[in-house]
């Protein structure tokens, strides 16, 4: 510890005002404060401060993202090896998964960190920890076949347009990771949707096969004709409810396992980082809206109307979105009542997009971004109502 401290103390002068690398001071500062909480003290009242800081707050999201990440690595490798006809033992699957996912995560962090440092250096403010979350959330929403240059473009768009032009973490309107994801989705639909993107198949010399196309449950369901039961269609393609809950199927890297998302959400709620109101509201929004559409289902309506509401929770990215994206405090509303409304609206919109708009296979991304835009407005009205109850003091 003394050694590391000395290292920072000795090199500080190069980064301070007038030093050779003074433009890199935010980088130096971020690295030092990663190792040490600085010894700043309070000036006047309140003389003591809570031990919690933003660094720890944000680190908890990283901790909660670890299970989906590790599982995502395993699953990407498993699907790849399965369809390439390779060995399915744990080690080779995991190594294959690492080979697929690690570059994506590293590119996301490196490019994002570059933008973060650039903006921090120009604005002369410290590098915010919010980026650590964005840098990991973003790759987990991507298919494992995403080309690395698209990862770089996506995270650049997310960090710069989604966050930095508004002033950085805490001032952004949209969730930066989702902004980047949405950009890729609309700019490069070929790499983001469609059947062949979800599994990285390797051509093997001896048994050269064509690229296997493997549909996700959401894409499959789009094929259902009116009157068909989506549940039956899914189970024909070997998608049982349990399989979708556990997540051993092709899909976005971190978003396939609804169970792990649930565990992550419970963890975030327990440590007080995520608002349970948003999560419960979101789940309720999905279930209530889907149930309501069940009631409307008839002969001529699309098969989506009659889908079991529980299936909506485990299909696609809704679990991941509600657990990790909707609960981002910066882009969510701040009032407790607004958080219920916000969560519920995200759930309801997700279902509406899925059911009524077959052009978009994934609803939750658009639902969250849409509600991000509305969160300030919800807060505005909730605060108006609340202020009416106050006895004016001027």
């Amino acid at each position: 510890m003394k050694f590391i401290q000395k290292l920072f103390d000795n090199s500080r002068r190069h980064f301070e005002e007038g030093g050779r690398f003074s433009f890199l001071f935010p980088f130096f500062d971020a690295t030092e404060t990663f190792f040490f909480i600085p010894g700043h003290v309070t000036q006047e009242d309140a003389h003591v401060r809570d031990s919690l800081d933003v660094k720890r707050y944000m680190s908890f999201v990283l901790v909660a993202l670890l299970p989906p990440l590790v599982f995502g690595i395993y699953n990407a490798g498993y699907q790849s090896n399965l369809f390439s006809g390779r060995q399915l033992d744990v080690i080779s699957v995991f190594l294959r998964g690492l080979g697929l996912v690690l570059p994506i995560v590293l590119v996301s962090y490196a490019v994002g960190f570059f933008w973060e440092t650039t903006f921090a250096s120009i604005r002369k403010h410290p590098i915010s920890e919010g980026f650590l979350v964005t840098g990991l959330l973003f790759p987990l929403t991507l298919p494992p076949t995403t080309p690395l240059w698209q990862v770089a473009v996506g995270i650049s768009f997310g960090v710069v347009i989604g966050k930095e032009i508004f002033g950085g973490t805490g001032r952004n309107i949209l969730n930066p990771a989702l902004t980047g994801r949405a950009f890729l989705f609309f700019a490069y639909p070929g790499s983001m949707s469609g059947d062949p993107v979800w599994v990285a198949v390797r051509q093997i010399k001896e048994t050269a096969v064509d690229a296997v196309s493997m549909a996700t449950p959401l894409a499959l369901s789009k094929l259902a004709a009116p009157g068909d039961a989506i549940e039956a269609l899914l189970s024909q393609s070997n998608y049982s409810f349990m399989k979708m809950l556990l997540g051993m199927y092709p899909g976005s890297i971190g978003a396939t396992s609804a169970l792990l998302c649930l565990i992550g959400a419970v963890f975030l709620i327990l440590v007080g980082v995520a608002s349970y109101r948003i999560v419960v509201g979101g789940v309720a929004g999905i279930l209530v809206t889907a149930l309501f559409l069940n009631l409307l289902a008839g002969e001529s309506t699309s098969a989506w109307f009659s889908l079991n509401p529980m299936y909506h929770l485990v299909m696609g990215g809704s679990a991941f979105g509600i657990a990790y994206m909707a609960t981002d405090p910066v882009s969510a509303p701040g009032m407790q009542a607004s958080r219920w409304i916000y969560g519920f609206a995200i759930g309801a919109l997700t279902i509406l997009i899925r059911v009524f708009n077959p052009a978009f296979p994934e609803g939750v991304m658009l639902a969250i971004l849409f509600m991000n835009l509305f969160s300030a407005l919800i807060d505005y009205f909730v605060i108006r109502v609340r202020l009416k109850k106050r006895i004016l003091n001027v």
Binding site: I37, H40, V271
Partner: protein, 475 residues
Amino acid sequence: MDPILRHGISGLSDKENRRCLREQLFYEQMKSIRIKKGYDLPIAGAPTVDLAQAKRPDRVASLPKRIPFVKPRLLVKEGASVNIGSVLFEDKRNPDVKFLSPGGGTIEKIHFGKRRVIEQIVIDLHDEEKWEGLADFSDDDLERVQRQDLVNTLLKGGCWALFRALPFNDYPDPGTIPPSIIVTLDSREPFHPRPDIYLDKRMDLLQFGIQVLKKLTHTVHLTVSDGQALTGSLNGLLTHVMTGPYPAGEAGVLLYHIKRQPDENRAWTISGQNLLLLADLLKNGRYPIDRTIVVAGMHAPIRQHLRTRMGVPLGHLLGDGVRKSGGSRFVNGGIFSGYRSQQDDYLGFFETALLILAEGDEKEMFGFARPGFQKPSHSRAFLSALNPSPLSMDCGMHGELRACINCGYCADVCAVDILPQFTLKSILAGEVEEALAHGLLDCVSCGLCTYVCPSKIDICAHLKMAREDYYKEIA
């Protein structure tokens, strides 16, 4: 009181039963107010209930700088000889408001700070201190006295500034009649003297004080935050008991919960100990200087209640246990409202506590990633959430300043239902009207929003500054 009394106790005569019932109804006039939001700091270093008599100091001081809003005009010079109760300075805004000497002796030194702010007037005490004679009142006199005469006596006796007018916390305009006066006997802020200790054997003085207040206005509220030990002895004087966490017991919090009309906003407040001073002045006809204080905090050599006098040197309070070490911070007053002092500073006019805390200026390696069983936090982000015992706290920031991330922790602890994160943003945007509508003037400066903020934003200071700016604007 036992609910059985309502139906009468079989062994007692009718007359006794009626008396009990009457007593019970008396108690029931006392309203219980429950504070739902707030936070009790789990801080170690509380004072014991022992009360010791501090030795007589050889000098005392008056600290004009620490009396809010006052613009002092000095009326003494260095080397002058003063008695207890001689006028030291008056307020330029209202020369009737005088501030008197807490000691008899020679003015040893007048310390000026930046821009000639008067920081300390130090008085070297004589062996035999003399008192200025001031008018005294018996109970009968009090019955007959005119309100204006009473106000003039308090002004002349240097005790007017003990009153504070909500919401700005300045002393009230002597020409006004307030909608109510709120007497707060204690504070749950760590750490303050317990009312059962400073009221011991002085209950008659408290009663006399309440009588005085009733001469000044119609409605007098007497409140205590945690009344179990006291309600019996306060025998019908008490009007409100506030339960729940800090800031229960603060006057502004009580007012917020009991007011029905906007015209009740400008209530006056006075703390229990200050009311005793005021009663002492009227009853004995001399300037009161008694103070019961606590010395507390993990770095304090002794932690107990002390009976001493106003303006006492802080180092003197530590007795022989004095230690002039670095790494300790002397706080004049409570942990959320006190100000930083040095060992050779003096106790302030309003202050009743000396806290000595660890400065906490060491760096901590991988501090953000530790389990933190010993790290105090309002959140559930440390294992200390499972640790019920009081924890040692230091004055470290435990993090760096960041932009608000809208977590909403501040709103969770605000006892007067301000939305600190939104109010802060409207203040920063210059929207004073909006901030006022949010209840900026209901804020009691409890400091909890600042304490819990993970972005380390001093929300409370921003609100305080906005309030003071607004006060200057409307004054």
